[in-house]
């Protein structure tokens, strides 16, 4: 236990915590994305999947609490590291050239905040259903299509998925570096895996609001 506390006290330990919780969330999002695109098959298969999940009853709270814990640790570490970075930088430069950082790496913090806002909205929208125009328990496919009928909502989903993609792109590459996985023979795979998972997960999710905006979702 002392080792864990000691790790958390250090900036490297907080980054390790972020990378491990991030990986857990990436794993969840892969399964979540695969189940969501069932909507392109038909609404009924999505309903079946929903029924299967609800079949676990109160046991469903175990993965839910694990995911919630991962999000809390991820955000706590991000918040503390941001504060340390701001304090460490002190004054700002009149001119500061940043040739190496990318759009994705520079938007990790605000992009993360946007993703948090999105998660809260998304849970109220499709899980709790209180900001849904016509929420019916169990009719998952229908709820999804009806919820996407509002253009501003679909657009918000699309923008959030672009933010998620940027977060993935830098975050997944960053996981390798933080966990010490860096070897010239394998390094090109790090970027490749980050790009692949970004296209798969963020692209998969984004296809749903994009299809809704184009009028293809029914």
């Amino acid at each position: 236990m002392n080792a864990i506390i000691g790790l958390w006290r250090s900036t490297i330990g907080k980054k390790i915590a972020m990378s491990l919780t991030g990986l857990l969330l990436v794993g969840f999002l892969i399964s979540h994305m695969i189940s969501n695109v069932l909507v392109f098959v038909d609404g009924a298969s999505l309903d079946l999947y929903g029924a299967w999940l609800r079949g676990f009853g109160p046991l469903l709270w175990i993965p839910r609490l694990i995911l919630l814990g991962a999000v809390v640790i991820h955000i706590a570490a991000a918040y503390q590291l941001s504060a340390l970075a701001r304090a460490g930088r002190g004054g700002s430069y009149r001119d500061h050239d940043r040739p190496a950082s990318t759009y994705a790496s520079r938007t990790m913090r605000w992009g993360g905040v946007l993703i948090l806002v999105f998660i809260i909205f998304h849970i109220l929208h499709y899980t709790v259903g209180i900001i849904h125009p016509d929420f019916r328990v169990g009719e998952v496919g229908r709820n999804l299509v009806r919820g996407m009928e509002s253009k501003p909502v679909a657009l918000f989903y699309l923008v959030s998925m672009i933010a998620l993609g940027a977060h993935f792109l830098h975050g997944i590459w960053s996981v390798f570096q933080t966990l010490g996985i860096n070897h010239p023979t394998w390094n090109r795979w790090r970027r490749g895996i980050a790009i692949g998972l970004t296209v798969l997960v963020a692209g998969g999710f984004a296809s749903i609001p994009a299809a809704a905006l184009l009028g293809w979702l029914r």
Binding site: N2, A3, G6, L7, R9, S10, T11, I12, G13, K14, K15, I16, L81, L84, A85, R86, A87, G88, R89, G90, G91, S92, Y93, R94, D95, H96, D97, R98, P99, A100, S101, S105, R106, M108, H170, W173, S174, F176, Q177, T178, L179, G180, I181, N182, H183, P184
Partner: protein, 260 residues
């Protein structure tokens, strides 16, 4: 010889507490001058006019001591890759250029005067573990400890670090990870560094954090700014060693307890 007329905008700050400001100086420079020689010319003019010369750190002027270092047009050590400010020549600029010169900025590098910053935080990181213990007495036999050539070269790549602080200056988080990682790595890759390997990384990282540097978010700006082209591979190695050392550390059970 070709001369060029330049306009410098330089950060002037009389003391650590003073509120600094940018001041503009015109200068006529030769393209063969080093950047520091160009500043010397400005200072001669200032001294002749009875003004305070611009304070900047310098020592060897051949790119190996790590004393010089300033932000030149937003880049640590200026526009040339793998080049310290002292090895930067005015041929990297052209007639009529405006050059903005600022000190390295970080909370752990407080400004002492003008472009001179206090980098003793780096010294304290080294003191926290950047050494190997050796037996005194008769000199050991040469080559008694075998070091594979490629490991010696990779250790040497890390040992190239001159501790100038450009990594901290360039990092948006003002993180000292590249410096610390270079120092941890060059000893971790050699047999002589093994006995203290885990204690070293724990001690140096703890000191690094307590000096008030920010954390690493893998922007890789440090690697781009480093005049010695130290790779962020060293940061990954330090992360690996730090994690391993943290998990394997044992509770102190008495005098002489070691960390691994």
């Amino acid at each position: 010889m070709s001369t060029m007329r330049l306009t410098l905008k330089v950060w002037r700050q009389a003391s650590p507490e003073a509120k600094g400001e940018f001041r503009t100086y015109p200068v006529e420079a030769d393209e063969h001058m080093s950047f520091l020689e160009m500043l010397d010319v400005v200072n001669e003019g200032l001294i002749a006019a009875g003004e305070e010369p611009i304070a900047f750190d310098h020592d060897c002027r051949e790119g190996i001591c790590g004393s010089c270092g300033m932000m030149i047009n937003g880049k640590a050590h200026g526009p040339r890759a793998a080049t310290t400010a002292c090895q930067l020549h005015m041929r990297s600029f052209k007639d009529g250029d405006h050059i903005l010169i600022e000190p390295f900025r970080a909370s752990a590098f407080p400004v002492i005067r003008d472009l001179v910053v206090d980098r003793s935080s780096f010294d304290r990181i080294i003191q926290a573990g950047g050494y190997v213990s050796v037996g005194t007495g008769a000199a050991p036999d040469g080559n008694a400890i075998l070091v594979p050539k490629e490991m010696a070269e990779r250790a040497m790549d890390a040992a190239q670090c001159i501790g100038c602080g450009a990594c901290v200056a360039a990092c948006p988080n003002a993180s000292a990870m590249l410096f610390t990682a270079a120092k941890v790595s060059h000893l971790a890759m050699l047999p002589q560094g093994q006995p203290e390997r885990h204690r070293r990384v724990l001690g140096m990282v703890e000191q690094m954090d307590s000096e008030g540097f920010g954390g690493c978010t893998n922007f890789a700006e440090c690697e781009a700014a480093c005049p010695k082209q130290i790779s962020i591979e060293n940061i990954a190695r330090m992360n690996r060693d730090f994690l391993k050392a943290s998990l394997r550390e044992r509770e102190e059970t008495g005098a002489g307890a070691v960390s691994n």
